[in-house]
């Protein structure tokens, strides 16, 4: 029997509670291997979601950011190392992502994979089972990577079970 506390929406005013832990970067931006990741969260009408909370989680650290009035977010992080997966498979480098927003009872979970890892991505157990793995691979954009998140409808991001 599941005895866990159910989730509820983060609501529209969550920035009140972020206090001393609202850093937008996983690592020091001055690091030589630092990578910037930018993106926009959009709803089912293609409109930017201006009150979402995006969190990154990887071995090197966590970071979170509230989206801007234009629905955008940005983080500085590093590409994690490949990780062992089930049955001896190797998972391509990726970052775990949570998205919270008004209208979402529970968080949405997805992953950011890296475009300069085509071979590792091709062997990744999760990407291999998807028809539209492309929504999980960031796109190069100048010196940055772009990872847009579509909550619903055309181009809907692949969201994961936990």
């Amino acid at each position: 029997m599941d005895t866990s506390t159910p989730p509820q929406t983060v609501g529209p005013f969550f920035t009140l509670g972020l206090g001393g832990c609202a850093h937008g970067d996983v690592v020091d931006p001055a690091r030589a291997d630092a990578i910037g990741i930018v993106g926009v969260v959009r709803d089912g009408a293609g409109e930017p979601v201006a009150d979402a909370l995006v969190e990154l989680w990887q071995a090197e650290g966590c970071a979170r950011a509230a989206t801007s009035p234009e629905g955008s977010f940005s983080f500085v992080t590093v590409k994690p190392a490949p990780l062992p997966g089930a049955d001896g498979a190797t998972q391509a480098p990726h970052v775990a992502v949570s998205i919270f927003a008004r209208g979402l009872l529970s968080r949405l979970v997805t992953r950011i994979y890296f475009p300069d890892e085509p071979e590792a991505n091709a062997r990744d157990p999760l990407l291999g089972q998807l028809d539209d793995a492309g929504t999980l691979v960031a796109e190069p954009e100048g010196p940055w990577l772009r990872f847009d998140i579509t909550l619903q409808g055309d181009g809907e991001t692949v969201f994961l079970d936990g």
Binding site: D2, T5, G17, G19, Q91, A96, Q152
Partner: protein, 218 residues
């Protein structure tokens, strides 16, 4: 109106496709390494830090953070935010014409102790209207954010108060389909937590779900 109406903000935000079952990774099983400013003892008292005391009914909210095996989770960051006693948030986006309280910001945080315990002192938040449907009011609630020990345990939820007549109509509370699970969102009045001649006490234990804490391959 005989039953709660849908949560309108979900219409364009809830994904239409089912969730993909993903193999767990070491990333998701690892603990959070979050940068934050030091958590100070005073951060758990929302009635302090201003020139005077906030208006409203002073309360203590205390409990434990546990996993589904019943094991306590120590050193877990809990963050809370809430409306003031009049039902107004200290947030530019809140247009409810109720008074702001210059002595109440409505945010606090703490780390659980070695037994997973936490304790906040605050004032009871007021109910407030919202635009979900005609004459819609949110029941009094406190928002909770809990990090837990792994990505899978990350939880954001809301704590409600026992006996609140608005719970029956609230689309957000009632969006949890299981009645027993909804009850786990309601704090219990607790005489043990109540401080004589000072503040009523409410107990709210938080149980985090999630995959086993042992990384694969170990």
């Amino acid at each position: 109106m005989s039953e709660p109406l849908p949560y309108r903000s979900s219409a364009l935000r809830l994904p239409r496709r089912g969730l993909t079952i993903a193999p767990a990774t070491l990333v998701e099983l690892g603990g959070p390494v979050y940068g934050h400013d030091p958590v100070l003892p005073g951060d758990a008292d929302l009635t302090q830090g201003h020139s005077g005391e906030p208006l409203g009914e002073r309360i203590v909210v205390a409990g434990r953070v546990l996993d589904t095996e019943g094991l306590p989770l120590p050193d877990t960051l809990i963050e809370v935010w809430q409306a003031n006693a009049a039902g107004r948030y200290t947030h530019a986006g809140d247009r409810h014409p109720a008074p702001l309280d210059p002595n109440f910001s409505g945010a606090g945080r703490c780390l659980t102790d070695a037994e997973g315990r936490y304790r906040f002192t605050t004032i009871k938040p007021g109910a407030y209207p919202w635009e979900n449907h005609d004459n819609a009011w949110r029941p009094a609630h406190i928002h909770f954010s809990v990090f837990g020990r792994s990505f899978a345990q990350r939880l954001v939820t809301q704590m409600y108060f026992p006996g609140d007549p608005l719970l029956k109509w609230d689309p957000i509370f009632n969006a949890v389909p299981d009645a027993a699970a909804r009850q786990r969102l309601i704090a219990a009045f607790d005489l043990e937590t109540t401080e004589p001649a000072w503040a009523l006490g409410y107990r709210f234990d938080i149980v985090l779900r999630g995959r086993a804490a042992t990384p694969m391959g170990d």
